[in-house]
Structure formats: C-alpha cells, structure tokens
C-alpha cells in the first residue's frame, strides 16, 4: 500500500511517499503501526484532530477500512483558495 504525506506531515516524517506492508484493517490501525515505528512518526501523528486522511484519493475518516485500498494519504486541514 502506498502511504503519502503532505505539507507539515511530509516535513515531519521526512518523506513524501513510501510503500508500507501492513495487516492493518482500518486507517486508525495503520496510524497506530506507523506511530510505533519511530519518533518522527509519533510526532507527525501526535494529534489526530489536526490531521485529515484520504483513502484512494477520497477524503474519509480514521475509521475507514483498508481492504483493497491502494493509497492512503495523511495531511493537515486544507488551505487552498
């Protein structure tokens, strides 16, 4: 599964994209796995209320299931316009 990071999430983790092998069944499970990896992940995922998630390029929430999913992206609230 591809995991993408944008804006300060990308900067904290230090890379824009990586491929992750995981048995996680929901976004929240995946976040728990990533957080346990290293401090920079723990720092990026410290406050989930400051994060948004897209699964296969659609906005969703942290309860979303991961079965069949190819791409998960984490980022702060959007500030376009």
């Amino acid at each position: 599964m591809d995991v993408l990071y944008f804006a300060w999430v990308r900067e904290r983790i230090g890379l824009p994209r990586e491929t992750v092998q995981t048995q996680a069944t929901t976004v929240a499970d995946l976040v728990a796995e990533l957080r346990a990896r290293e401090d920079r992940y723990a720092a990026a995922f410290e406050d989930l209320s400051a994060l948004r998630v897209a699964v296969d390029q659609e906005l969703t929430d942290f309860d979303a299931p991961l079965a069949g999913v190819r791409e998960v992206a984490f980022f702060p609230p959007m500030t376009g316009g």
């Binding site: 944008f6 791409e71 992206a73 959007m78 316009g81």
Partner: protein, 147 residues
C-alpha cells in the same frame, strides 16, 4: 465545466472574458479571484502551494459538479495554481454562469467554501527566510454548514 490545475500563471482577464462571452441564455456571471496578499506592513516574500496531484483534479470536479447540479448553472470554471507565488500574483479563480444573479453568486460562494476546506491544497508562507504553513481557519470549516 472546465477545471485547470497548473503551476503557470493564468490570464484572469482572458479567462473571465472567454467565460462570459457568447451566452444568450445566462443573465449572470460571477467570478472570484484569490490573490497572494502581503502581510500588513509587508514582509511576505513568497507563498508555496503544495497539492496532491492524483486527488486535486478529482476533488475539484466533484465540488463543481455539485454546484452545477444544485444551482442549474450554465457553466462553471475553476483554475488553481500550485508552486511558488509572490505577493500580488493570482492564486486561483472560479466563475459561474446562471440565468439569475442569486444563483450565480451562491454557486460561486459554495465553490469557494468547499474548495478552501475540501480540495487538497496547502499554503506555506515565506517571511524573512522562515517558512510557516498556513493554518486552516475554523471559520472556513464553519462556512460549510450553511450549504
């Protein structure tokens, strides 16, 4: 409907004129243009806009199709830039055409409210060597509740 996501500048006058031209069935055209605003007193060197290439076009299309259906628009246009922009540069524009002015205005405001909080763009401001991510405003999220 036309959705454009690009790093190059766009020609606001030409886009607005082209959008408004040749319509006999639409009485009202509204445009909105977002411009990189300097800080009061100056000091903003540049703004860097990051986006999520795979998702951006799709998200803007969804938002625009919603607006077209809801207000029976004759047409809608969204242009959004990414990359480095300096104060005074145009970041983005939307345009809406409808038979009556109320619909054209509401649809343009709807597009802007949704684009702000639901399209994957992030702004970073550079002042005196320091880059700061622009924080999302609570009022932007709250603006969605009126729709």
């Amino acid at each position: 409907m036309r959705i454009v996501v690009q790093d190059a500048p766009f020609d606001f006058g030409a886009e607005a004129a082209g959008f408004a031209a040749g319509r006999h069935d639409m009485g009202a055209v509204v445009t909105f243009t977002g411009i990189v605003r300097d800080r009061p007193g100056g000091g903003l060197q540049a703004m860097e806009i990051e986006h999520y290439p795979g998702m951006t076009q799709k998200a803007l299309e969804q938002i625009t199709v919603e607006a077209i259906d809801r207000w029976s628009l004759g047409d809608a246009l969204v242009i959004h830039r990414f990359g480095r922009l300096e104060p005074g540069e145009q970041i983005m524009m939307v345009a809406t055409a409808a038979p009556h002015r109320k619909d054209a205005f509401e649809a343009a405001e709807y597009l802007m409210d949704y684009l702000k909080s639901r399209a994957p763009f992030w702004k970073k401001e550079y002042c005196a060597e320091t880059g700061t991510w622009v924080a999302a405003k609570d009022e932007d999220e709250a603006a969605l509740t009126r729709w």
